[in-house]
Structures are given as structure tokens and as C-alpha cells.
Symmetry: none
Subunit: 153 residues, 2 copies
DNA sequence: CTTTTTGACTATCTCTGACTATTATTATAA
DNA sequence: TTATAATAATAGTCAGAGATAGTCAAAAAG
């Protein structure tokens, strides 16, 4: 029993993909397409296309009014990660690495579990077979690689 | 006379087998199917489909609400992971590592994003600073460490 | 005594509609 | 012609109704 809101959400997201990141609609038109009251469109937008979820919405009332939804997060999260990756040096200590990873959680770039995995992968324990003098290089390479893998999703 | 809770438990487990590991129900619907109060469904879930027993449950209230039960693994995820960790040798190739990681996703042990992170951490690219003859040892250590970090969550 | 069953009360999410706010267009007055 | 007022065309807000699921403690069963 799919909810109408979910159906409308899906419809809009597909449009956004088709239109490559932005879509412009008219509230009443969309509402009548889905046989619902216009305010349902507002409901869908305010619960599904929030800034937190990576969307930016603007609108205008009056004759020729519209609602425009833009997807911002995929790029900006990717950009942010690229920025961090570029700022990382060729060597990094376990402690510094953990600080970075904790920051990613704070900034909602990664989940707690993902952070645990990353910390585990970059811990001295995991790298015990790597000679001390190479360890910080390897750690930096691993961390960068893990972060890079997230920029494409 | 079998207890109702047992009957509902059995019904759900069969459904889970049919649906290959996951089932989605509506509380009221299921309750009326078995002629019981809706909260009995909660009772069954909270006593029979616990995390300890290898199930993961999520739900949503409101119109079109649902309860979704996923079987993580016959054993608990932690046990399963420990088993895998112990079965891993001291060396592992990139290819073998990826096969393992893909299996974890299939068995609902980890998420797709987590898999990507793990693959990135154990790729030859990430380990390019590690001499070839040590690489598979380091990779095995990293993989084990990442998996270990998940056994405690 | 422990487990199961029940139901009253609560929490959360969705849908609806009346009322409000804003903008564009058209009509009217100066 | 220009300024202003009325009208039309949109979108926004919010509270209430509807639809689910969750909690908890008492009653019932074993």
C-alpha cells in the first residue's frame, strides 16, 4: 500500500535525474496529476526535499508561479570530500586520522558504523605488518582511498 | 494447543523463507488475520525476532505504515563475523577479499556503502606503498580489523 | 512464577481543506 | 499616461482528521 507521498517523491526524483539536478513544477498542476489537494505537494516537499537531504527549493506565488527543486548534496558532499582528500598530506598518524574521521561523522558525511570501519582500517593494529617508518604513508593512502570511494556515490 | 504467538512466529518465519530473508507486513492486517489485538504482533516480534536471534526489524507509523523483518543470519551477526574472521587466512588477495565483502552484503551483514569503503581500504591501490610480498598480509590484517570492529555493534 | 493475551493510551506519519500571502494582470481614476 | 485599485492566479500555513504502529500494565493462562 504505497503512500501517495512516496509516489510523488519518486516521480519528482526521477524528474530531477532526467533534468540533471533541477526540476520546476506548478503546484496545482502536479496535485491534479496525482488527484490530491495542492497542499499535499507542500507536505511532500517539506518532508522529502529538505536541505538536510540535499535539496534546495525555491518558489513563487501569483500568476505563473512555480516551485523549483534543486539537488545540491551529491555534488557538495563529493566536493567537500575531494577538498579534504586534497588537503590530506602523504602521511597521517592514527590520532590525526581519527580526528578527521570523527569530523566526517559530525558533518553527516559518513555514518557511525562507517566511521568504525574506517578507524579499524587505519589503526596501528591493522597496520602492524607495515614497518613503522612506512605506516603513516600507508595509512594516508588507505584513508584517501576510502574517502575517494565515497565521492562516486 | 499451540500458543498463538508460536503460530504467528511460525507464519512469519515461513514467509521470510519464501521471500528470501525479508518480509513486510501491516500490523493491523496481520492481527486481524489471526484474530488478535494488534499489540500481540509487537509481542511476537519483541520476543521472537530479536537482534540476538538474528533479525533486524524496522517499522513506520502513519498511513501506509508497515513492519519489516529481515533475517540477518541464522547465527547472530557477531558470531557469523567471528566465524568468518577465524576462517580467514593470514594472507588474502584483492580479488578474494572482494568476493568476501560482496558476500557480506548479500547476507545483510554490511551495507553497500560500507562494502565500498572496505573494498577501497583493501585495494592494491590503497596498499601501493606496501611491498608486493607483504601486501596480502597487510590486506588480511586490515580486513580482519574492519570486521572485528563490527562485531561489537 | 513465567509467559501470553488484551486493551487503553500514546506517538508518529499522512492527507485534507479552510484560510492566508504573494504576484501578475486588468480595470479605473486622476 | 500614470497611479491606484480590483481581480485572478498562484503558492504557503496550520490545525484537525485519518491511519498506522508502540508502550505498558493488568488480566489470563500455563
Amino acid at each position: 500500500m504505497a503512500r501517495l507521498s512516496d509516489i510523488i517523491e519518486e516521480f519528482l526524483k526521477e524528474l530531477i535525474i532526467e533534468e540533471e539536478g533541477t526540476v520546476e513544477i506548478q503546484r496545482n498542476e502536479l496535485a491534479s496529476k496525482f488527484n490530491c489537494v495542492p497542499s499535499q505537494i507542500n507536505y511532500v516537499i517539506s518532508t522529502r526535499f529538505t536541505a538536510e537531504k540535499g535539496y534546495y527549493v525555491e518558489s513563487r506565488r501569483g500568476g505563473g508561479g512555480y516551485i523549483c527543486i534543486k539537488r545540491v548534496n551529491p555534488d557538495s558532499a563529493g566536493d567537500y570530500l575531494m577538498h579534504i582528500i586534497n588537503s590530506l598530506g602523504d602521511k597521517i598518524s592514527q590520532l590525526t586520522s581519527e580526528v578527521f574521521i570523527n569530523n566526517f561523522v559530525d558533518y553527516n558525511i559518513i555514518e557511525t558504523r562507517e566511521a568504525m570501519i574506517m578507524k579499524a582500517a587505519t589503526s596501528d593494529k591493522a597496520l602492524s605488518f607495515v614497518p613503522m617508518d612506512k605506516r603513516d604513508d600507508v595509512r594516508a593512502a588507505i584513508l584517501k582511498n576510502m574517502l575517494m570511494s565515497l565521492t562516486v556515490l
